[in-house]
């Protein structure tokens, strides 16, 4: 963008940012994308209309889903000067206090009244409002706000906010880990910048992201993952700067035993597919990927990728219609249009005496080879990643270990603890107590760990009232 003397620039919302929407105690993580709608608290709106505004701002949702910044302190203050009663001994709860009917309110809404204005109308039309105590008045307004509020606050993501969000919205995804529990885990594991931490979690990436936040981009984090690939949706929501991802590694647990035994070969992992493109790809196309989460040798994983591209299957079945898969054509060096002018190809083919099928077969073979080449590159990347993660693990000198998953913690812990340096902490979270009792017992039997403790935390929020003024308000006897 153009050079602006805008010192607030780092605090402004930008397109592509990962943010958290908030209303009251409800949160939702979204990414700001141009023209993309977000649904939050039964409302649709366009988060990208907030681009350029400051983080922490509160917006009204205007018609069309446009977010308009709201002036601060529009809301409070209206009840401070109001008269209030001392108690409710004379207030009758007969359901007749509110003069406005539901239809009246709908009309007001239709007239485009803002939420504070509607609430003010309700207050003005309530015959008992003035008799309520100050606390009761505040409670009434709070309740109406919850119902009629039409605002959204946009926040920067943080571990605190995301942990509260996941716990409130999708606790099942994070093994029902309360945010106070996560706080304890991060501190007890002594997560800090510059260390090497192993994480095994099935909490949608929340635990991993929290660990990364506390490491600030220093040191390294190795995610040990089960199955085919690491799950990291939650990590995205943190909106880390790109360089943080350089510190993040992953290692599939199916190779743990090999690594511990010293038999893991991270050097030449070329599958037969690379050397014989046509044969291998024919096999692949005929074998659609099986949904086997537990098997993950590279070859099978790689094979899963190309066959997930239906265009390719289509291609093999009908080689005369390669245009159904434009990506294939892009990979070709030659800008060919095989279907439109087969005659041309015939002319370009090496031997004029070849049969009519040959040019198409050559095209097909070239595509297969290009795909195999792509696969080879991807495999090489995967191999490199595996090698770098293995190198970090081999020394068995990790500084911390955090486990929080739906898997039985005992075997996970006994397996991964072997990578931990002596005199380093580890933390295991489980939704259930019994597996942890087993862990505790097994560790005691195994020896080699001290200061073992099985704990849980309880969090309670308190309602703090304003100190009542010494001089009492007007008498409620009327």
């Amino acid at each position: 963008m153009a050079d602006n003397v805008d010192e607030d620039s780092p605090d402004r919302i930008k397109a592509g940012d990962y943010v958290v929407l908030k209303r009251g105690d409800i949160f939702k993580a979204v990414q700001i994308q141009p023209k993309k709608k977000a649904m939050f608290e039964k409302q649709w709106f366009l988060p990208d209309t907030a681009v350029g505004q400051l983080y922490g701002s509160t917006f009204d949702v205007a018609p069309g889903g446009i977010l308009q910044p709201r002036k601060p302190k529009d809301t409070e203050g209206s009840t401070d000067a109001n008269e209030a009663g001392t108690d409710n001994r004379h207030i009758l709860d007969d359901g007749k206090s509110q003069k406005l009917t539901r239809d009246d309110i709908e009309i007001l809404k239709g007239q485009g009244l803002k939420d504070q204005e509607i609430i003010q109308q309700l207050v003005d039309n309530s015959s008992t409002f003035r008799d309520k105590t100050k606390y009761a008045q505040d409670k009434y307004i709070k309740k109406k706000k919850k119902k009629y509020e039409n605002t959204v606050t946009i926040l920067r993501p943080s571990c605190r906010i995301l942990a509260m969000m996941y716990h409130g919205r999708e606790p099942g995804k994070i093994c029902h880990m309360r945010y106070d529990m996560l706080a304890q885990m991060l501190t007890l594991a002594n997560i800090h910048a510059g260390s090497k931490v192993l994480v095994f979690e099935t909490c949608a990436g929340l635990v991993l992201g929290s660990v990364m936040e506390r490491m600030g981009g220093y040191g390294s984090v190795i995610q040990m993952f089960p199955g085919g690939g690491p799950v990291r949706a939650g990590v995205e929501s943190f909106g880390f700067p790109a360089h943080f991802h350089d510190t993040l590694h992953e290692f599939p647990i199916c190779h743990v035993n090999a690594l511990l035994a010293g038999t893991l070969d991270t050097a030449c992992k070329d599958p037969p597919a690379a050397s014989k493109p046509s044969v291998a790809s024919a096999e692949e196309e005929q074998n659609p990927p099986t949904a086997e989460p537990t098997s993950c040798p590279e070859e099978l994983k790689m094979e899963a990728e190309p066959t997930s591209c239906p265009e390719e299957l289509k291609m093999e079945a009908e080689p005369t219609e390669p245009t159904s898969c434009p990506e294939e054509l892009k990979m070709e060096a030659e800008p060919t249009e095989p279907t439109s002018c087969p005659e041309e190809l015939k002319m370009e083919s090496k031997s004029g005496a070849e049969k009519i099928n040959d040019p198409e077969k050559e095209e097909r073979e070239k595509r297969i080879e290009a795909k195999a080449q792509e696969r080879k590159v991807k495999l090489e990347e995967k191999r490199k990643k595996l090698a770098s993660a293995a190198a970090l693990l081999e020394g068995r000198n990790a500084d911390g270990l955090v486990i929080a998953s739906r898997f039985h913690p005992c075997p996970v812990l006994l397996g991964l603890i072997q990578f931990l340096s002596p005199s380093r902490p580890f933390v295991v979270y489980s939704q259930y107590k019994e597996p942890l009792i087993e862990c505790f017992t097994k560790l005691k039997e195994r020896g080699g760990t001290v200061n073992l403790r099985l704990t849980d935390t309880w969090l309670r929020r308190y309602q703090v009232a304003e100190i009542p003024p010494i001089s009492s308000s007007r008498n409620s006897l009327r």
């Binding site: 002594n190 910048a193 308190y462």
Partner: protein
């Protein structure tokens, strides 16, 4: 060794933890030529500690042995010399997450006290953050400064001996987070606001009594803080043990061979953990 960075070998000048048994640890300042007495005998630093790996078993003169552990803020908290009542790890962990502490954060704290929370903050904000800590008691302020130096974290912290309620934190507009653990936190709220960055930040006040909390909340609202939240965190420790439940004797019965059943379970302490204090959090909006 450092409170904010791990190392593998014990070195002269380190502060290490000697583990004697469950619930039995002590901090030791490692020094060439020095000795430490334990109930298992003498540990000679030069031969038994320096150059050994952290986590090693060390045999003492009488034949018994101990483990030597690398220091962490959590181990320090349960082993440090108390000059005041301290904050324990349960509260510290909650504070760390709710104040959003992370590397690079600038934090203001008062009172420093015995430095329990201070060391935990330093661990979380290293290597690029800074802690400004204020202690109105002169000797405690001096002792804290000494300790930070000894623990090799002095570059990350500034100790000021002054009254935060009168003179503030000594800095303005720099803090991402402010923590108050003083008798009258409501008097320091405006100073907290001044110390914080213009863009906003988080504040926390710790008070044992609800009356203090009330006054502090009032001051926070007055000063324009938002998102007030007062909570309490309690830790329950589960004692893992095997218990034996006797089975009833209803008379001769071939199908009931045992007289009792063993059960691996946990028991809780007799009383709920004691109240430490209420934690009140709030957010300073952009000003």
């Amino acid at each position: 060794m450092s409170f904010v960075e791990y190392s593998d070998l014990i070195q002269d000048g380190d502060v290490a933890i000697v583990y004697l048994g469950p619930e039995s640890m002590m901090p030791v300042k490692v020094k060439q030529g020095a000795q430490t007495q334990t109930r298992y005998g003498v540990i000679r630093h030069s031969s038994d500690l320096i150059g050994r790996r952290y986590g090693s078993k060390v045999t003492c003169s009488k034949g018994g042995w101990v483990y030597v552990l690398h220091m962490t803020p959590e181990l320090w908290t349960v082993n440090l010399p108390h000059r005041t009542q301290i904050l324990y790890t349960t509260d510290i962990a909650t504070i760390t997450m709710m104040l959003e502490l992370k590397p690079g954060a600038v934090v203001c704290e008062s009172g420093t006290g015995s430095g329990s929370l201070s060391h935990a903050i330093l661990r979380s904000i290293a290597p690029s953050g800074h802690l400004h800590t204020v202690e109105f008691h002169q000797q405690r302020a001096e002792k804290a400064e000494e300790e930070f130096k000894e623990h090799r974290v002095d570059r990350l912290v500034t100790v000021r001996n002054q009254d935060v309620c009168k003179d503030g934190f000594g800095v303005t507009g720099v803090a991402d987070a402010v923590f108050l653990d003083i008798p009258s936190p409501w008097e320091a709220v405006r100073h907290a606001k001044a110390a914080m960055k213009r863009q906003g930040g988080r504040v926390c006040s710790f008070s044992p009594c609800i009356e203090q909390v009330q006054k502090t909340c009032e001051a926070l609202v007055d000063q324009g803080f938002e998102e007030l939240s007062t909570l309490e965190v309690l830790l329950r420790v589960h004692d893992v043990r095997t218990v034996y439940l006797p089975l009833p004797d209803f008379g001769p019965d071939e199908t009931a061979p045992q007289t009792s059943v063993a059960l691996k379970t946990t028991t809780l302490p007799r009383e709920m953990p004691g109240h430490t204090g209420y934690l009140t959090f709030a957010t300073k909006p952009r000003t």
